[in-house]
Symmetry: D2
Subunit: 452 residues, 4 copies
Amino acid sequence: MPVRLIDSLSSTEPLAELFSDTSILRAMLDFEIALARVESRLGIIPTAAADAIAAAADERAIDPAQLSRDALRAGTAGIPLAKALTEIVRSKDATAANFVHWAATSQDVSDTALVLLLKGARPLMDGDLARAEQALLALSEKHRQTVLLGRTLLQAAPPVTLGLKAAGWFGAVRRGRERLNRTFHEALVIQFGGAVGTLAALGDQGLVVARELAAELDLGCPDAPWHTHRDRLAALVCACGVLTGSLGKIARDISLLAQSEVGEAAEPAGRGRGGSSTMPHKRNPVGCALTLAAANRIPGLVAAYLSSMLQEHERAVGGIQSEWPTVAEIIQLTGVAAASIAEIAEGLTIDAVRMGENLDATQDVIFAEKAVILLAARVGREKADQLLETAARQAAVQNRKLGDVLAETPEVIKHLDSAALRELGVAENYLGSAESLRLRLLQTAVPIDDRD
Amino acid sequence: MPVRLIDSLSSTEPLAELFSDTSILRAMLDFEIALARVESRLGIIPTAAADAIAAAADERAIDPAQLSRDALRAGTAGIPLAKALTEIVRSKDATAANFVHWAATSQDVSDTALVLLLKGARPLMDGDLARAEQALLALSEKHRQTVLLGRTLLQAAPPVTLGLKAAGWFGAVRRGRERLNRTFHEALVIQFGGAVGTLAALGDQGLVVARELAAELDLGCPDAPWHTHRDRLAALVCACGVLTGSLGKIARDISLLAQSEVGEAAEPAGRGRGGSSTMPHKRNPVGCALTLAAANRIPGLVAAYLSSMLQEHERAVGGIQSEWPTVAEIIQLTGVAAASIAEIAEGLTIDAVRMGENLDATQDVIFAEKAVILLAARVGREKADQLLETAARQAAVQNRKLGDVLAETPEVIKHLDSAALRELGVAENYLGSAESLRLRLLQTAVPIDDRD
Amino acid sequence: MPVRLIDSLSSTEPLAELFSDTSILRAMLDFEIALARVESRLGIIPTAAADAIAAAADERAIDPAQLSRDALRAGTAGIPLAKALTEIVRSKDATAANFVHWAATSQDVSDTALVLLLKGARPLMDGDLARAEQALLALSEKHRQTVLLGRTLLQAAPPVTLGLKAAGWFGAVRRGRERLNRTFHEALVIQFGGAVGTLAALGDQGLVVARELAAELDLGCPDAPWHTHRDRLAALVCACGVLTGSLGKIARDISLLAQSEVGEAAEPAGRGRGGSSTMPHKRNPVGCALTLAAANRIPGLVAAYLSSMLQEHERAVGGIQSEWPTVAEIIQLTGVAAASIAEIAEGLTIDAVRMGENLDATQDVIFAEKAVILLAARVGREKADQLLETAARQAAVQNRKLGDVLAETPEVIKHLDSAALRELGVAENYLGSAESLRLRLLQTAVPIDDRD
Amino acid sequence: MPVRLIDSLSSTEPLAELFSDTSILRAMLDFEIALARVESRLGIIPTAAADAIAAAADERAIDPAQLSRDALRAGTAGIPLAKALTEIVRSKDATAANFVHWAATSQDVSDTALVLLLKGARPLMDGDLARAEQALLALSEKHRQTVLLGRTLLQAAPPVTLGLKAAGWFGAVRRGRERLNRTFHEALVIQFGGAVGTLAALGDQGLVVARELAAELDLGCPDAPWHTHRDRLAALVCACGVLTGSLGKIARDISLLAQSEVGEAAEPAGRGRGGSSTMPHKRNPVGCALTLAAANRIPGLVAAYLSSMLQEHERAVGGIQSEWPTVAEIIQLTGVAAASIAEIAEGLTIDAVRMGENLDATQDVIFAEKAVILLAARVGREKADQLLETAARQAAVQNRKLGDVLAETPEVIKHLDSAALRELGVAENYLGSAESLRLRLLQTAVPIDDRD
């Protein structure tokens, strides 16, 4: 399924396919077939009717353009779908036509169809997230000893390891993936309530039909219809929002590492990837851009979903009608972000030499905190702070190593010997618990499937 | 252009057409043709090249699916579009191919194409808004004397006229339409800056090319390229947000008037409009639902646009890439809301009898304020409030008219004669400045075109 | 702690107290005391220093107005807090002053302080949610047989029970409360990472300090510092968003039931509650208004939080600085909504007679679906639909019972006897699985504390 | 008025003062005084009553904490304010107490009070915006010839001038300020409609009272009450959103220029400004952080406002109750952003040497576009692209100037002489229309006051 140009940076073909006319028709028809089968099995409608419905429920027999037009007039796709299917069945078996959509309401088919589409989205998204995790884990392992500048408010700060940084990214993806799976689990349940959620048209058989219908569609059966209680879907789109926030943080970091003036990382290259129409030399961080674009859009889309939750009584006027596209976009954008980060993580180019150069370029002023700690015990913190503030400024202005400046400061050399001062600028010696923390982050990496 | 099922409640065919693959291709190619023409006219590229480009720039020659795929890899549709066009031109005239997209950058084409699409949206939206205004004005005129309950916090309150209510709706649409037109005017300008906004590739001819390009495309020429300054588009999407908020308020009001228990208004009927799959008797307020759905979604989409404004330096990583679909949705949703309110306003059924019944059903407790005013001058406000609170409660409990209860209250009849008490419940006598305010609201209705 | 006027509809005194200057100072000082204690216990700083810090860390000794001013200049409250505390300690024990805030960074104190405030919010919110659940459960039990109109798109629809409706509300609150508790559990962990998250200033003792610090503050110890990974807090604010969406749906329903024209429910009365300055007779649904106001604001606030997640490297420029007020508002608004729904649910007045009258007023056209089912088996669905559409319209126009109209329709009485037609309008006989579904919803009501 | 700690990064003292309890009380009392004065002047209430009300309306006589508590129960601050004022007046003049708040409704006072606060905000905000404009204009003038790297997707691109960049910032602030002023102009109108917007309690004097009331308060008099039509305020908060988006873009740019690895700009220094608790050497871009924090939060707040626009009938249940804090925050955040950008622009340190170094470090590959243009005319665009892609890669890998690499490429030197190749890397020669565009942007700088 081609992605429309307007969405070309917001979806991928498999994700777009999920929400294509064909998929939506298929999902709605699957609901109708399953309903008919279950109802015939339970003796509610004739077996022949169910067979006729199943035979007729071919998405190619329905014109999606006309259905779309009818949906706009009806305020739902469910009603015209049921009508269209009824007409097709009627053209072959007039009696069977009586039993299409039996005891269901339009929201039953539109909501359950949406859930079926989400069920299809889950493995797609989870696959990319698993790839991203795996690649970030490998990156963390490989670079457990690669040291680079820490950066706070975009200013040089004491060093970290790329291993720890990548482990932090990994941990965020892992937590996000777990939340996403939990909310998918919660949300993948049928909607089946009839006109007002009592299943009155089925007499006392409502619950058994619901249970069998869920089984037939391989979805969960919730405690009750959730027509105007949208919290399960809301939790799912929020999980997408939180996850994409984390993916966006990773993209922000990588795009900053990939800046020309920083040059510590680069996205994987590839034909047609990241070039510029006017600047043949460029390698643009396209995957980061796509991920950040998704992260820019999703918060507002989550808000749109939450705003639609105030659904009146047994069917809303406005709330339910706004959901389909919001959910579809959130899923596709999350998917694009996950795929982009997976691709970036798998092919990220690291320039460890440049990392070292950027560290060196600070003239070791980033180790002022360390020097303060060493001196504070001797001269007091306040004095130590003053000494370092002066020395750091001098180092920056004179373009000399902090240690060298300190070595000329009488109040310092009274307390610190030249070995200590030489050692001051060794980044590897000022990493604290970086490696332990890295291992803790990766330890959470038990297989995700075992827990769901 | 059919609307996709996923968007079936969020767009109309003409609006969807605006953002179709074909329209987008056409708009991008129009930019390239105009650029070539202007550059050839100014002697920057050969006339033959411009002719060859114009001849080749046929949207049917470009596969949108492939372009979409390439856009995802390039992070923009502009680069692969320029490449695709170059290939087509090259196949016919190798020299001309050198001059495709000359001196432009990808964002020049993608931004200007978006502006061209917006230019197409303007008359569509304005037409429906004009219809809505006209119909609301007529409704207000017709019902200048139709009295109905005022309602505050959904509780019965002193009366208003439907004429005033409709005039309030009219005024909001009118103000919103004016804001929209002002921001359209501001936003319909070309984007043309070359690689970084200096038009360096054109030497000292940048400005003249820009000016001519704008003229060629019948767009405005801004003071400077606005590649990472998105405030004009932001103001436009905000105007859509404010307008749809007002349209949503109208839809909320009408959907409440159309409630079964209120029954004072109904949306126009029509084949396939507002029926229910399970309840053949129903006439659902579908237009209100579509409008409210739009109003639910747009605030988040506006937030998404505003969040994307923090665009880095001369081209953003993430901001620009998130805009196309956000703008397209906001425009389409605003358009659906405008069309829905136009249709509703033109065909709204009013049940003035029911309005009177609902007024009567309050037993005149809604005139307690009036009675307080009459009494306060005699017994003081506090005492008057107490008397009325008691009387109103009694009227409600005993299901009697407030005037009748007051007529039995000694402290009241000392001060108010029976004529005053009889008159108390005449809604027409407690409308204050309703008619003057109505006229003031409609007076703003000078032709909108004259001012733009 | 008084609530500011500007926030008077958005908070309660206990909730406002949580985020007062005093509470924030207290929480930040608690962090500093705990840190000093743990570090002295582990031999990192002198015991005397820890004692001096604990003695000095009195929130009354710090001027919050000055701290606020300094925070604006520093871009964080953490730095001026540490400075202010250092000055106080220094004034008593110059040596101890060296060890204030030892090895911590400003974000360690500001983030952990926020978490401590959230820890205080949890029982407040959970208490109101538990009250709301309990009251909704009791309401559902009491009204298991109270029948009222179902309503779809605000139109009369087949009946439901108030018991089922209240059980649906209960289920949504319960699920929301569980999600909230799960995310609280996840989020109530210390933030402790030092300058860049490596705890380098503590050498190899970082992890043990972290663990002990968490224990001292009675918070969890996360796998690693989460300075620029905000997903745990994001998940918490999202849980608030989803929950308030559900509370808002309840408020929307109740405010609609409380409409003058519907009159089926009313919020509990009380001095100063729900009156009107101009309409002494009114009983406004104030609790619903507060809840809906919260539900209007929270989606945007959630979006604001999610938008702030793209935090650069080891400390953000902009992201972290936007979080405190957003979180504080979301918590307070959720709390107001929870308290309001609890109060409403505990005191809701139900008018079952009015419910019956509203059912009657439909002239039984809401049972058209039932009649269609009965007839479809005999005359086919299409024919049955047509018969009922005609009959329902006639019933509405002539203001007669649907059954009576049908009794005069030859094609109907051929198939349905008069008993069936008389029974048609008995709402109690068309409730389907309402009671079973109600019981299923309430069954999820196992004690929440046992699972957390 | 001190800023609360929770808001310490989101407001300034003058802005916080605007929304303090005292200011709100003052504004509400000002409304009541003005109303009484006008009504006495028109003979509607006794002059003595107006005098007594004016004498009693002292904000110090009302306990804001109690008012806040009462507001929560009443669902509005207007009702308890009127009651409290009535009590004070009654304690001095029982008759006068009858005429407090005469003919007004709670929303009249709460809305008009908000408008009065906004009137106070306008000059504060406009002052900082004017300062920002002035400083950016001066920066642009001073650096009209200072050349620095253009940057697209954070990658080195052809050069721009700082003059043009600052002019772009200036233009965005200017346009944003104009939009803000226009919406302020539109929004600064009284709200006065009585119970339902008809001013019924004033008989036929409603309009004259309204007009005089507006004059008394020095506000505009709108065509009609706008109680549930919130578009004017919505347009104002949107203008804040668009403006803060532009300010955020400036802050994003400057924070990126201020990165350690870029080092081309730095925020003004100052005591307590931008230091770090652990890193004495740092100069954090605090103003940028505050601005970006504001820009992170505002889009969601704008969405919250827009979501609250769907206000029912003559007074909303939920919509109006959510507005005060949303508006207050948007104004304060916009104000903080404006003040921060003004301060930054006035004191920005520019390192033009570093700008040159960063240009040099690209080895002139940023001029590949220029070389392509020179060559394309001779060898065709495709060939030229290939030659430059190869040469640019070689220049990067070998760390040599692009011109030097090209000088060794036979196909190049056939067409370009050595002078052309030497000139290739002269940034000043590849600025296109930068200066003309700069002048155009600044030319819009006619005095803003003349147009409003």
